[in-house]
């Protein structure tokens, strides 16, 4: 059964230096509050797994906490570059970063494989691209039935998955709705799962398109109202598009970024 704990305690227990940490949320319900707690607790040498590394990944990378990034699209959605990510790849600042780069379909299937207890999934993809020689976890195989060449992508098995959801009930069942991304797959693929929620309620209200994670599928739940800001939780909060634009200027400059992180998140490099 899921245990309730304050966020600082939950991160302290579940995430260790050097862990493979999946932070998921497809530009909706992104677990920013938990990501900031990782930073405050000084977690380092992380392998960060995230389909769409956006601002939270830029912050972790910019403070040198990420050793390896496993991803499929690293940008500031609708705005442009992730400047801290680019600085790390292009100039090795503040430390060099290893990349394990995939397509969205590939990453999604790698989570499905992990959640399904399989070593890999088959898909049509990666053919004709320059990605396979530069990335682990993709091989081409022949279909045993038709002989067709298919891509096999290896399973993701994070040490810990961290997601943000709108609700949990007092028994620890978790509910999210709206754009649900790969959160269910990430939680089921991981050895441990930490879920932050906007609100803990007596009983979950049914919602169209909801994903419900039974209490026994989750390790720890922490209440973190607005924990997805500047992304949003459908029906709970509003996406702060203006902050995405502001981040471009903050992250463009090393000093401004470093000062901003001290001032707003309370962490130094």
């Amino acid at each position: 059964m899921a245990r309730f704990a304050p966020l600082a305690e939950a991160v302290g227990e579940l995430v260790h230096d050097g862990d493979i940490v999946a932070l998921e949320g497809f530009s909706h319900l992104v677990p920013f509050a938990a990501g900031h707690e990782l930073l405050r607790q000084g977690r380092r040498d992380l392998t960060l797994v995230r389909m769409v590394p956006d601002l939270i990944a830029d912050q972790l990378i910019g403070l040198g906490r990420v050793r390896r990034l496993v991803f499929s699209w690293a940008g500031n959605p609708g705005v442009g570059s992730l400047h801290r990510f680019r600085d790390a790849v292009e100039h090795g600042w503040p430390r060099p970063i290893e990349l394990e780069e995939h397509t969205h379909a590939g990453m999604a299937n790698r989570y499905v494989a992990g959640a399904s207890g399989l070593p890999c999934m088959l898909m049509r993809g990666y053919a004709g691209t320059d990605l396979p020689p530069h990335t682990d976890g993709v091989r081409f195989v022949s279909c045993p039935f038709t002989g067709e060449s298919l891509a096999a992508v290896s399973a993701l098995r994070p040490d810990v998955a961290i997601i943000h959801a709108q609700r949990a009930d007092r028994a620890g069942n978790v509910q999210l709705w709206g754009i649900v991304g790969v959160q269910k797959e990430a939680v089921l693929a991981a050895r441990r799962a930490l879920v932050t929620v906007d609100r803990v309620v007596d009983a979950l209200e049914p919602r169209p398109g909801e994903v419900v994670l039974p209490s026994w599928a989750v390790t720890t739940i922490s209440e973190a109202p607005g924990g997805a800001w500047p992304t949003y939780g459908q029906d709970d909060s509003v996406r702060d598009d203006a902050f995405y634009r502001e981040w471009d200027a903050i992250a463009r400059d090393r000093d401004r970024f470093t000062n901003w992180m001290v001032e707003h998140v309370g962490v130094a490099a």
């Binding site: 530009s27 699209w73 609708g78 292009e90 053919a127």
Partner: protein
Amino acid sequence: MSDAAIAVAVARMLRDGEVCFVGVGLPSLAAMLAQRSLAPNLYLVYESGVLGTRPPQLPLSVADPGLAGTAQTLVPVPEMFNYWLQGGHVDVGLLGAAQVDRFGNVNSTVVGDGYDRPRVRLPGAGGAPEIASAAGRVVIMVRQSVRSFVSAVDFVTTAGQRVGDTTRRDLGFPGRGPVAVVTDIGIYEPDPDDGELVLVALQPGRSVEEARAATGWDLRVAPEPRRLLPPTASEQAVLTALEGSPAP
């Protein structure tokens, strides 16, 4: 207004009722213009798992509340790619590109020589490679210059008509791939024989000379390139409304 010219040309290529896979930026502008002009029943899908949306304003991200709020249904991301795209339900995909080459291959990964320490690191593949292989056809949208319109891309993120000597058919792709590359200068279509892009139409006020000057290889030009018509009054009105009201 060069983005508007690209959007108008692409919107006119979309047919009412077809299923269109879209991203943010130029593809959304074109698809939303089509929905508000010639293709009111264009069925828009976004990689975030949004099916059948009618965005009220230009979305900043694929998870924009305006996309989710007007969707017919929302599905998990693995389902989006495996069932709806790979399953063969998408008629047309619209792709933006930082760099495209003479065979319609797209680079959105790295600019410069090395993968490990590139001159410019771009965001990466996202959904594009599988959209380009599985959609019935693909339209690529790019702001044309010698830097973006190159003989061979530095990195093939998304395969077009031909990669080296390997064709789409060799790769087993079900879709027709890029049937048009639309820029602020003109429209380019692959030669049916060898897949090389050929200038077939010019944007209003643009010339073959301008097209050649903004192309990084010796450009083939159709015998008489068509002249695209400028935006109609109603297209212009939609564009003004969309560009004037980006997501807050």
